[in-house]
Subunit: 138 residues, 2 copies
């Protein structure tokens, strides 16, 4: 499948590498050229320099042919806006958006956006780790 | 149980609130007073202002009586150092350390430190979300 990832931070770069290794066609968009250094040296996908909420940038990343879009920049608002563009304008079937703020995540989830909230995920894992006597390793 | 949390960012504040609501005795340490505003208004635990890698600050937070210690500042190095202090100097049974960098997380895991890596957790969840056709909600 063809996946466009917005944001080449740690999570974006790790995900891009995982998908590329699994045989998927991956484009990663970031506004900083340095960010692409986080990618695996053997990464075979496309690296697109630009602002991922601009449609011509997303088109350069191949969004017109994409099956999935993932927004993982450091900004919740940017991720939300880019995900809405991917869904409403480019009609991408699978759009997943990272939102750090649990309150905004809840709101956008209720509006039908598929989201993940690392804040809640981490807090829940840590809660289990300190209250349940088992070693958690990820 | 008595839990000391270092770092009152989003994850620290969410975890502190969860543990407090579940009836545990919680102390949160942060070097910024503003950080404590992230706590639930009804948070009943202790808020300790200070540098959490200083032993007198940890003692003020009640580390001598603590059953568990969680390090979730924004700095991997600070979390690692504080966790080592909690484990080696204060002999806290349950120490959990957040490490964003997957490579350092692997290293410290192999050295016996209990860690979580939000980078890998998020990347893995997103990988499943885009490759498996099921809605993931957290």
């Amino acid at each position: 499948m063809k996946v466009v990832i917005l944001g080449c931070g740690r999570v974006g770069a790790t995900l891009a590498t995982q998908l590329d290794k699994a045989g998927h066609s991956v484009s990663v968009v970031d506004s900083s050229n340095d960010a692409f250094q986080r990618l695996d040296p053997e990464f075979g996908g496309m690296k697109i320099l630009g602002n991922g909420i601009e449609q011509h940038v997303l088109k350069r990343a191949g969004i017109l042919e994409a099956d999935a879009f993932v927004a993982v920049t450091n900004g919740d608002n940017r991720n939300i806006m880019a995900s809405q563009i991917a869904k409403e304008i480019f009609h991408i079937k699978k759009v997943v958006c990272r939102i750090y703020d649990p309150i905004r995540q809840l709101t956008y989830n209720e509006l039908g956006m598929e989201t993940i909230c690392p804040t809640l995920i981490s807090a829940n894992i840590l809660f289990d780790a300190v209250t349940v006597d088992t070693k958690h390793k990820v």
